[in-house]
Symmetry: C2
């Protein structure tokens, strides 16, 4: 399951993605409309900005708005950022690899091999789906 933070990030991205004009939207507006606690949302938006997905303007007339094309924001990107690895085990993670403490030999571990397959299949899904798909699916 995704953490609330991850889900909130998707809600925020969806709200900002739905805007016609690329004009700055207040954090408080996003918080109100998506029902995400404002202070919690702040750090989420900041992370999305640091990742280059959003950008922002300070001061009056400021706010957040989408920088990337929704079609270029993969579910996998957002999930990795807020939820951690896509892989089910550290020993099969491409981005966060770590050997298992109990592992004697990775090359002979059946679990490892199967989880690599699961990872690859999962990536096919979450790397193909993007924010654009979520926006399209909105009524």
């Amino acid at each position: 399951m995704l953490s609330k933070k991850t889900k909130y990030a998707f809600h925020a991205l969806t709200y900002l993605g739905k805007q016609e004009e690329k004009t700055p939207i207040l954090i408080s507006e996003v918080a109100d409309k998506t029902k995400v606690p404002k202070k919690f949302l702040e750090s989420i938006l900041l992370d999305l900005k640091k990742a280059g997905i959003l950008t922002s303007k300070m001061g009056k007339g400021g706010g957040y708005y989408l920088l990337k094309d929704p079609a270029d924001v993969e579910l996998a990107d957002v999930i990795r950022m807020f939820n951690g690895p896509i892989a089910l085990l550290p020993c099969v993670s491409l981005n966060y690899y770590e050997p298992c403490d109990e592992c004697v030999d990775e090359t002979t571990c059946g679990l490892n091999k199967i989880m690599i397959e699961v990872r690859d299949e999962t990536l096919k899904i979450v790397a193909k789906k993007t924010l654009a798909d979520i926006l399209k699916a909105e009524a």
Copy 2:
């Protein structure tokens, strides 16, 4: 990512599945060979027994052994048991459904729709792969 408990469960199942004879294996033997803390393993094996995947015998000559055919033990079963829902959001979970607090109308939520698709694709993977596949993959 899977919890350690879930990973340990897979290791234990793999070890028991590798046995030639369906003769009871001591918890302590499984713990030693899989490097899972013994007392922690106890509760895992007990859960697997309650789920009908393993069975056990008490007293001398006792221990745990596989009850189900490895081909009938889906990854999804074990993951659900120890890790929780396969779905990424509560509102798209088949087995643990819960509405989102922030949700106004599920039928118009793009995130919901996309996550249903992701769930279905994920299920195709983890429900098809079984303990038998892990055993086959062992060197």
